[in-house]
Assembly symmetry: C2
Homo-oligomer: 296 residues x 2
C-alpha cells in the first residue's frame, strides 16, 4: 500500500487555499482546484470528501459553501506530508556528509533503511539515482562503496563547473538587452542588495539566493546536460552549507560582493569582464569548499 503522504500534503495545501475565502463563499469547481493544487481530480475529490466530513462545508450536498475557516488542528503534521523519497535524500546526505565516512567504506542498504525508518526499496532506489553524483560506486551483485567527499571530488566537480558556467555566462552576455533573463537578473541583484543591508540577521538566506543566481546563468545555456549538472552542484552545496558553519557570515559577505561584481559584468555584456568576474568568483568558491573539506 502506498503511504498517504501525497493526500496529506494536498490536504494541507487545500486548507491554506481555503483560508483565503470568506465564510459563506462557494469554493471553485473540482477542475479549478485540480489546477491550483497541482494534483489529480481523484485526489482533490478525496480531499473535498474529507473536508465535508469534518463539517467545513454547509448548504446542500455539492454546494461547498464555506461553513468555517480551517483551524490549526485540521492540518496534518508536516512530517507526515514529506514523501519518503525526500526523507531518504535528506537523511542519506546527512549520513554521507558526516566526517567519519571514509573512501572504501561500504554502504549497507538494509542497515540504512533500518536507521532511517524507511523501506529497503526506497534506499535502493535512491542509491541508484544518487550514483550519478559520483560520491559512491556500485559493485555488481554487491554493496555500494563510498568514494568519499574528498578534495579530488571537489576539484573534479569544480573543473566541470567552471567550464560550464563560464560558457553559460558568456552566452548570457551575448543575449539581447531586452531578453527576459536580464529582468530576472535585475531582481536577483536587488535581492543581493537587500540581503547585504541586513546581513547579520539574514545571512542564512544566501544559500538559496546563490542557488537561484547560478541556476539562472546555467539555464540560459539551453543545454539539458549543463542544467542537469547544476543539480549536482546545487545538491552538494545545499548540504555543504549546513555543514561548515564557521565564519558563514563572512564567507557569504565576500560571496555577495563577488556576485554583485559578476552581475554588473553580465549587464555590461562585455565578454572579457564577464570572464574575469566569473572566474574570480568560482575560484573563491572552490577555495571555500576545499578549505572546509580539509578541516572537516
Amino acid at each position: 500500500m502506498r503511504g498517504e503522504t501525497f493526500f496529506k500534503a494536498t490536504m494541507n495545501q487545500a486548507l491554506e487555499h481555503i483560508a483565503q475565502f470568506q465564510v459563506g463563499d462557494a469554493l471553485p469547481s473540482e477542475n479549478t482546484l485540480t489546477r491550483s493544487l497541482q494534483a489529480s481530480r481523484t485526489t482533490v475529490r478525496k480531499v473535498l470528501d474529507d473536508l465535508d466530513k469534518r463539517g467545513i462545508f454547509t448548504g446542500p450536498p455539492g454546494a461547498r459553501l464555506l461553513a468555517r475557516h480551517p483551524d490549526p488542528s485540521d492540518y496534518f503534521a508536516d512530517t507526515e506530508t514529506i514523501a519518503t523519497a525526500a526523507q531518504v535524500e535528506k537523511k542519506f546526505l546527512e549520513w554521507m556528509l558526516r566526517a567519519d565516512r571514509k573512501p572504501g567504506d561500504f554502504v549497507n542498504g538494509l542497515d540504512l533503511a533500518r536507521q532511517f525508518g524507511v523501506p529497503v526499496n526506497a534506499v535502493r532506489e535512491y542509491l541508484n539515482r544518487f550514483g550519478r553524483f559520483g560520491l559512491i560506486e556500485r559493485r555488481p551483485n554487491s554493496s555500494w562503496i563510498i568514494r568519499g567527499f574528498t578534495c579530488d571530488f571537489a576539484l573534479e566537480l569544480f573543473e566541470v563547473r567552471e567550464i560550464f558556467e563560464l560558457r553559460s555566462a558568456l552566452a548570457f552576455a551575448r543575449q539581447p538587452e531586452t531578453a527576459a533573463a536580464f529582468k530576472t537578473l535585475a531582481k536577483l541583484e536587488a535581492e543581493h542588495h537587500d540581503l547585504l543591508g541586513d546581513l547579520d540577521t539574514r545571512f542564512h538566506d544566501f544559500s538559496d539566493l546563490d542557488e537561484r543566481f547560478h541556476r539562472l546563468i546555467n539555464t540560459t545555456s539551453g543545454n539539458r546536460f549543463i542544467v542537469e549538472f547544476h543539480d549536482v552542484i546545487s545538491l552538494i552545496f545545499h548540504y555543504h552549507y549546513q555543514w561548515g558553519k564557521s565564519d558563514e557570515r563572512d564567507r557569504n559577505a565576500v560571496a555577495i560582493a563577488e556576485h554583485l561584481d559578476y552581475i554588473a559584468a553580465l549587464f555590461s555584456r562585455d565578454p572579457a569582464r564577464v570572464e574575469k568576474a566569473c572566474r574570480l568568483h568560482l575560484t573563491s568558491a572552490r577555495k571555500t569548499l576545499l578549505a572546509s573539506i580539509s578541516t572537516g
Copy 2:
C-alpha cells in the same frame, strides 16, 4: 525470488574455463576459481556442486579431477544468462529509438513490462536510471514523458561532448611520452589499420573500436564527471549504430581515416594539431548523427 541468471552465467564461464584443462587434471581451488570467474565463493561452490552431479569430476569427493570435457549440452542457453536489467536496457532502447516516438508521448511502465516480458519493477528501476540521459522526463506520481531523440538532443549532446573531449585530448597530449596511455593508443592505432585492411567484411567492428578509442581519451581527463558523460555518449552511439544502417561501411571508412589523423596528432603532442584533428572528427560525427535523425 531472484532469477538464477547469475548462477547460469557463472556456470557457462566455468565450463569455458574447464575446457582448457586436460582430462585427469585437478581443478584449482575454490578461492582461485572465485577470482577467475569473478563471482563469490558461494556461487562458485554451487557451480562445482552442480558440475559434480553432472559427473564431470572423478576421484574421491572434493578431488575435482576432470572426468570429461564439457559438451555443448552442458551450457545454458545464452538467453538465460542475460540479467533482466540488461534485457530491459536493450529492449527499451530499441523501443525508444524507433522513429515513431515523438516528444510529448508518454512511457507506460506497465505496458512496457508486458511487451518486454519482464516484471514491472525492472522497467521502473531502469527508467529511474535512464532518466539521466535526458531523453525522458519524470512527472511525479505519473508516467514518464518522452523528450525525444531530436536534433536538439543531438546538438546539446555534442556541445558537451566537444567541450569535454577537446579538453581531454589536450591533456592527453600533455602527458610524457612514456605514459602508459600512449602504448594503449599505439595498439588502438594498429587495430584501426587492421580494420581498414579488411573493411568490407568487418566494418561492423568499428562501433566497438570507436567506443574504446574515445573512452581512452576521456579517461585521461581523470575527471569522473567527464568519464561518466562518455557513458551517455557511448550508449547513444551503440544503439544508434544499429539503427541507421545505410552507407555504414562508407561512413566508417571516413571515421577511421579521421581517427588515424587524430591519433597521429596525439602522438605529435602538438596542441594545435590535436585541436584541429579533434574538432574535425567530432564535427563530422555530429553531422552523421544529425543526418540520420532527420531522415529517420
